[in-house]
Symmetry: C3
Subunit: 316 residues, 3 copies
């Protein structure tokens, strides 16, 4: 494993391995000095062609806790405005001596294409509708640790609700959840389902009411309000009537069932309930786990030693 | 003292204690290696919903000299543009494992409200017209060290000139200066005085000419040019005639009297004189002291040991 | 040598000395832990009044590899928008305790002017049409190391093609290349040559075809597309006919001849050929050398010891 471009590149053993390393990172993050020298001297570049403060800060925090140096490149302030090609930009950053690039781009496949242009490790932090593999991993970490079922989601059911068609989060999560053994249900208006949904190995249901009381995890996707304006999508009130989580629906969640969301939340759209009023909400736990899992990904791809080096503390 | 939200939260002993710690920091900043490992492994987030490069860099410099990691969050590049609530933003940053948040926001009371949403230490770096407590502390540090009167401003008079009504700096400084024993005079057009100014324990004068030759410190506030356009404020020329510091007025300052300003200066408005031509100007000294005092605040709120740890050098 | 404002400030011995230090830095950058503690505790501020992600990241990477702290100040997010003077900005940053300022500004002479306002070391990272001395140094490093002629370019010919008149890169490079002994040829439309070109000690040729097969190094300048719209400059198609590097022209480059460009490339303008198809292209090598040379400049201006301190590794 040289890069992390897609959940599909990872075997189940590799997924389980990363989640195990994330357990070490979670322990580090509870220390009074939550920092280890594992990646000292490495330079990790955030290369964001789409704005995402949340994901960028999560990766950069992870990098700093491993004592790596961070270089932040945001497209809006870059030479791309002056007509430089994407290839030139990537090759230039690479020539400065970057060990890994964490990239977000609005077009599917850009991280894969980048690997032709750089010797650095490439980590996909979201490309178009395609993939967001660290989100899939952090969510798998969240559900397995929540349910105490480390290497497996066998016998567990997870419903993913919202705009499946345009969601890279849905693609990464469905793949990982299924291969860990979960039964995955998707709930979306027909216009927001991909055409080949039959081939994804998921069950399709028509409204959140069909699943809210049954599943072990309810995963609400962020609704892109922009799409609401287009004619193919139902109007907001119609959408909310069938697909939003309301206080009434949240009250019907099973005891022990958890609520998840990749953030940022669109309050009043997919979540009409305040998540702090939902005892099963693990939305903030996902954020905390995001740092643990991204530390694990960076360490797995860039670290030279076994996890015993993570025992060292104090030095940073 | 868990947070620093307002000057009013601090007892006189606590104020004097922070200024004493700032003396240690001033010593560190004269070393050839001005850095100590006191906050190694801590993460300090700058959370700025209003642009202020000056204050942000001062805090971030302070944090780095204490070997903390810094995370910068600026609202303009954030999810708030996508409809995420302030609460979600704060909870998300907090869930990433932040030890302290330094916040600036245009609305009074936001830092206090934030303390409900995070376990991190919250430091108010300016909220609306309300408070800017580290400015009050660094200004108190500047005047006490200037006058050699460490724990007291007894017998000293300080005039604050300008838009008192809309100034968080005025509110923090008047409170701290008075409780350290200073006689505080405010000089402002009636429209730029708060309605309850009588209850503030200050003397009110009508023009800078009434005070310039008498006070030990002349504190010029930044004039918000935006307000000049509104009908309640006198026109710029009328304002300058009564309230600006001109070369003639500066020449009338007492020997030993000092000139202060929180920055950034509006040249040609509140300062018509070039401050580098005023021997008593301590405006740049305030900037230097700002780093010392913010190191002291961060150390007091986040450090685990006594100031003896500040003797250690070389390790960073 | 206190500052680095212009190539003209450097003696040939000083130029050669910096390039020698850059050899040490190149060695450091091949280590598995490419970091040395040479500038630990120093604060280096990037002060960019013109956007240049490439140059800024090159300097900041160089600073971090020497273990310095970095402070980034970009004018668009600064108080200058509020009417603060340039002098106040520089004095304020300086008062925070900055050891060096790396400045880019659209006006010639600003870095020199700044030296009146700060005790910090000032490094010119490009000022108007005037100078870009670290570009000249990194390009001299690239050609001398490429040709294996460490201290000299005697007997070598270098053609610089494009908008000489408005180019700070041309001014710095011509000066350094010539003083190291190179024969320098400039190729440009008459309207893009400075009026006093005769006094520059260079040969003037009329089209790239006159030089492409003869010179040891072909240095293509970035064409500012904005200027193409103005009436004094030939239309783009006419310009390209005489001055762009096409695949046909690239094929006529001598064996051993190298292609250089300061970046960012305007593909389809000065380079119609894809540089990755030109075996002699050293464009990415320039980027790598940029980090080495900027480390050497920072170390030379801020380091306190001999280069023996660069032998130390592992500590950062």
């Amino acid at each position: 494993m040289k890069h992390l471009l897609s959940s599909h590149d990872l075997s189940v053993d590799e997924i389980v391995g990363i989640l195990d390393v994330a357990d070490h990172m979670a322990e580090i993050n509870t220390r009074s000095l939550p920092k280890v020298p594992a990646l000292r001297g490495k330079t990790i570049a955030s290369v964001f062609f789409e704005d995402s403060t949340r994901t960028r800060l999560s990766f950069e925090t992870a990098a700093k806790r491993l004592s790596a140096d961070v270089m932040t490149f945001m497209a809006s302030s870059s030479s791309l405005n002056k007509g430089e090609s994407l290839r030139d930009t990537i090759e230039t950053l690479s020539a400065m001596g970057v060990d890994a690039m964490v990239i977000r781009h609005k077009s599917s496949g850009v991280p894969l294409t980048m690997t032709q242009w750089t010797d650095a490790v490439v980590i996909n932090a979201g490309d178009g509708w395609h993939q967001h593999p660290t989100q899939g991993l952090l969510d798998a970490y969240t559900v397995t640790r929540e349910f105490g079922t480390k290497d497996s989601l066998s016998g567990r059911s997870i419903a993913i609700v919202g705009d499946i068609k345009h969601s890279r989060v849905a693609r990464s999560n469905i793949d990982i959840f299924r291969r860990l053994g979960a039964h995955v249900v998707v709930v979306a208006p027909p216009a927001l389902l991909p055409k080949n949904i039959e081939s994804w190995g998921v069950e399709v249901r028509n409204t959140i009411d069909d699943v809210v009381g049954e599943v072990d995890a309810l995963y609400m996707l962020r609704m892109q309000l922009e799409r609401m304006d287009s004619s193919i999508v139902p109007k907001l009130t119609e959408y909310c009537a069938l697909y939003s989580l309301t206080p009434e629906r949240a009250a019907r969640m099973g005891s022990g069932a958890i609520l998840m969301h990749p953030g940022p939340i669109n309050r009043g759209v997919e979540l009409i309930v305040d998540p702090t009023d939902v005892p099963g909400s693990r939305i903030l736990k996902q954020v905390t786990n995001g740092v643990n899992v991204r530390m694990a990904v960076l360490f797995t791809l860039l670290g030279s030693g076994a996890t015993t080096v993570l025992q060292q503390g104090g030095e940073s």
